[in-house]
Each structure stands twice: as structure tokens, then as C-alpha cells.
């Protein structure tokens, strides 16, 4: 359970991460706004409440790990790592530029990142390896893996799903960002994957549903996952792609979209309105 002030703090952080997204993408350049926004609350909760994580202990063997399998949402993770002081704020402005620290997709040269991801379907497998090593080491640390719903069409992911269940790794918690929109359109139209919950359940996982923009509800799901032993858990996050920006919500154009001067100003205005209410 979150105390009221903790809840408010996390909401403020999620808001700040969205401000950072707008700053990183800027006017006229493209960035993965949609799939980043759908994760703002989850990322805020994990880095700033749930995980044993801190910028001065990035190599601590008992740190909790977060692997962003849907690597195109790197911007939201960069915003969080910046907020956690893993690198200076100036780097946000240099994202995706030649010589900048922050690459277009997660790279291990960036402090705080645990894996190279972006080629979809690999993150759960990498997390499986981390979880096996942590278990061998009798470490209390946990691994959190965030996948996309579009990513569910990658075959390797199901190899990993079977293997994680086979090894009964309950130190691994997976998330599916169920925002129902992928690069070229609504997931149900592009490549429909019905009954995700039943698929994961059939592969030997505990399936937990959560409201992905409600930090309290996400935390409840995560805590439930951690109490269920002998099996891995997957949390299906019901989210809205582009959440927080009226023009981007559910809009495939903002999977990797560009701000015009007008939408940029509008974005900041909408964030300011949320800020005023917090």
C-alpha cells in the first residue's frame, strides 16, 4: 500500500517523466512518445518505489534489474534514470545525437541499463538468464521485464515464456504494456493476438491484471506477483498509448511521432494542467 504522499510523489514523478519526454523529442524530430507514455506510471513506481535501485550502486550484485524488452520506449527509461541521477540532465537534450550518451534504443553504455534491447523478443530471455544467475547466487534481487503487446508476436518470447516457467523462476516479474496499438495501427487489426491472458496462463504463468496508469493498482499487482511462489508472474497492464497527451492517445501516428510547434505547445499546456491539479 502507498501512503497518500507516496502516491502523490509517484504521480509527480510520472508527470516529470512526461515533461522530459517532450523535451527529449522536441519540435520537428521524431520519438517514441506513445509507448513511452503508456509506461510512465509503471516506470515511476518501479524505479522510485519498488526496486532496490540507486545511482550510486549501479553494479551492486543484489540490485533489482529492469529490462525494457520493448526497447523503443527507451525515452521513458532515460527520463527515469536521469531523474535518479544516473547521468546529467544535459544528456536528455542530446538524445540520439552523434556523440550523445543516450542512444535511440537501450545500450549498456548508458549508466543504469541492464541489457541491449530493441530487437524485439529478446528481453525476457535475457531476464531469464539474469534470474537464473541470481538464483544460483542466492541473491534476494528480482528481475522486472517490460514487454509490449505488439511484441507478443515474436516467437523467441514464447520460447522464453516456456523456459522461465520450466525453471520455476518466481524471482522474475514480467509486464505486458497492453496499450493495443503498434507501429502501423491497432494491434487487433495489424496482428491480432486474442486471449493473451489464457496464452500466458497456459504457458505456466500467474496472470495478473492491473490498471497501468494507477500507481496503487500496479503496486498491488507487483506485490501479489512477489507473494506467488513456484511460478513466474506476468502483469498485463491496461494502458493507453500516448497517455497524457490528448492528440496522441491511442493514435498510431505517435508510435514514433513528431511534434509540430503547435502540438509541442499543446503537450506542455496539458502537462501544466495536470501539474496544477496535483
Amino acid at each position: 500500500m502507498l501512503k497518500p504522499e507516496e502516491k502523490k510523489d509517484l504521480q509527480k514523478i510520472a508527470l516529470q517523466l512526461r515533461y522530459d519526454l517532450v523535451e527529449m523529442i522536441g519540435i520537428g524530430a521524431a520519438g517514441h512518445l506513445g509507448g513511452s507514455c503508456s509506461l510512465a506510471e509503471t516506470i515511476a513506481l518501479l524505479y522510485f518505489h519498488k526496486m532496490n535501485f540507486s545511482a550510486d550502486r549501479l553494479k551492486d550484485p543484489n540490485r533489482d534489474r529492469l529490462v525494457l524488452s520493448k526497447g523503443h520506449a527507451a525515452l521513458i527509461q532515460y527520463a527515469a534514470l536521469c531523474e535518479a541521477r544516473c547521468f546529467p540532465r544535459e544528456e536528455l537534450k542530446r538524445v540520439k545525437t552523434l556523440g550523445g550518451l543516450l542512444q535511440g534504443h537501450p545500450d549498456m553504455s548508458i549508466p543504469g541499463l541492464e541489457a541491449v534491447t530493441g530487437s524485439l523478443g529478446q528481453g525476457l530471455s535475457i531476464s531469464l538468464g539474469i534470474a537464473l544467475a541470481l538464483r544460483l547466487n542466492k541473491s534476494p534481487a528480482r528481475v522486472y521485464t517490460i514487454m509490449g503487446d505488439g511484441e507478443q508476436s515474436e516467437g523467441q518470447l514464447w520460447e522464453a515464456a516456456m523456459a522461465v516457467a520450466n525453471f520455476k523462476l518466481d524471482n522474475l516479474t514480467a509486464f505486458i504494456d497492453y496499450n493495443q496499438v503498434q507501429a502501423t495501427g491497432p494491434t487487433k487489426d495489424v496482428f491480432n493476438i486474442p486471449e493473451l491472458d489464457k496464452k500466458w496462463s497456459a504457458f505456466g504463468w500467474n496472470v495478473i491484471n492491473a490498471k497501468g496508469h494507477d500507481v496503487e493498482n500496479i503496486l498491488e499487482a507487483v506485490e501479489k506477483a512477489e507473494t506467488l511462489k513456484g511460478k513466474p508472474s506476468v502483469i498485463i497492464l491496461e494502458t493507453i498509448k500516448g497517455k497524457g497527451f490528448s492528440f496522441a492517445e491511442g493514435n498510431p501516428a505517435y508510435h514514433n511521432g513528431t511534434f509540430t510547434e503547435e502540438t509541442y505547445k499543446q503537450a506542455l499546456k496539458e502537462l501544466d494542467a495536470v501539474k496544477a491539479g496535483l
Partner: protein, 311 residues
Amino acid sequence: MEKQSLRKAYGDALVELGKQNSDIVVLEADLGKSTMSYVFKESFPDRYFEMGIAEQNMASTSAGLALTGKIPFYSTFAVFAAGRAYDQIRCSIAIPKANVRICGSSCGLSDFGDGKTHQSVEDGNIIKTLPHMIVLNPCDAVEVKKMMGFLVSYQGPAYIRINRNDLPVFTSPDGEFQLGKIYPITEGGDAVIFATGVMVSKSAEAAELLKKDGIGVQVVNVSSLKPLLKEELLKYTAGKKAIITAEEAVKIGGLGAGIASLLIGEVNLPFEQVGINDEFGTSAHGYEELLEKYGISTNHIYNAVKKALGK
């Protein structure tokens, strides 16, 4: 000459090294009895992970283990190890320089009966193109053991090709394997054969035949396909009248091509490549039949040397 199994050497080395280093873990994709990795399971069941027939997951899982301080060795047939999981090797392993050791077993045409789907004439060539990867191609069982010792302490991702068949022992158990170093096998002043893997023993046989014709050939074992170092090659081209390369792989992107690109402009000598043309393998009752069919037998090396020397 005594023949020994390279696969057995791989399995035995895993067990031996596993006793000394508890960070070593082994992964396999249901081929442990062929690759001989299963012997590690018998000694260290907690550190052996049967990943099922799922090579892509095995590659990325190995990366996760390596990124958490383990030293994973994973093995399967070379064709699946290198080809099926190419992007996983690239993104999960090579880019972050994860300490994963990949064993491509039954490489080349050495799985002679199983045919083109199971024979890998391109695995080393593919992996060589990935930045950060090193590629080792041992010529005998003794070299496998030495390379395995090296691989435990090496920092970075690595690929090792293992022949399915027993091969003559040419190398000495003395000393340690040094990355990028190439090793003379025979002495001879007329021509040099840069050979790798099974072609080292074939080249030595060819050198014996050539000796009877009065031609002296120096066979050199190039067991680091990558890094391939120009200065190492130049040690053996000095004073020679011809260069021959010999490999059990397609010529495109292979050892001969690599040597040619390093020596162009440095050495102006007749140059012959013994390797597989732009073709897949096929089934046969015996390994030697395939080496003959694909132009990489002892006789082909013998002829290539004569051609290069204009004799």
C-alpha cells in the same frame, strides 16, 4: 597418427574447468549427447541448463547469465548456433560484449550423414563479421582443451567451431593458446599453406606427398579465424614462392578471403584458395567423400600447391 575426439575434449574441458571455476555454467539445446556438453550435467547438475530446442532463447539467456557474472558456454550444432540465433548473438551478446562462449559443434561438413540442413559451411564466416566477436577454429583435440582454458579467462564474447569427427593430434599440449597467434606445423621453404580446422591435417598430408616431389611446404595452423593478424601472417610468407589457404567453409568471407585482404599490397605471390564454392553440403556415407566432392581433400590441396608454384 593418433586420432582424438574434439567433442570429447570440449566436454572434458568443461568439467575440468567447472571444477576450478564455479561461475562456469553450460547451456544446451537438446543436443548435449552430440556436443558432449552432457558430461558437465553429470558433474554439475545445478549449473547445467537444458534449454530445449530453442536456440534464440538460449543465446539471449546466456547473455543474461554473463551480464550477471557467470561464464556461460552454450553449445549446439554450428548451423543453429551461428545461424538460427544470429540477431540474438548480435544484440544480446556481441553489442554489450557479454562473456558468452558459443560452441558451434558438428561444424563444416563433419555431420556428413545429416546433409545440408545440418552441415554448416558458413558459421565461422557469419560470426566473424560481428564486431567484438572472436572466432576460434581448433585443428585437434589438444588445441580444443587449450582454447577452453583460454576462454575461461578471456573477457568478451567468443565462438568456437568443433568438428564432429576424430582428428589427428598435431599440436603439443605444452604452452597456452594465444589469441591471434598462428602456429607452424611443418617446415618447408617453397610454399606456405595457411590452414584451419580439419584442413590442418589434410594440408600436412599434402605436404608429405609434395615432399616426395621435392617440394617443401610449410603448413601453418591458423586457429584464430578472428582476430587474424597481418604481422603473424607475414612471419610465414617471408621467403616463400606461393601462398595457399585451406578451410572447410565457403570461400566467400572465409579464411582465404580474409588473408587475401590483409596481404594485398604487402606480398606479391601466387595465391590459391582451397575452400568450398558457393554451395551447401549434401549427405554422404563418409566424411572423406564430402571433402573430395567439395574440393577440399588432401589431393585438392596438393594440386593447389603445384598450381601456385607453376609445377
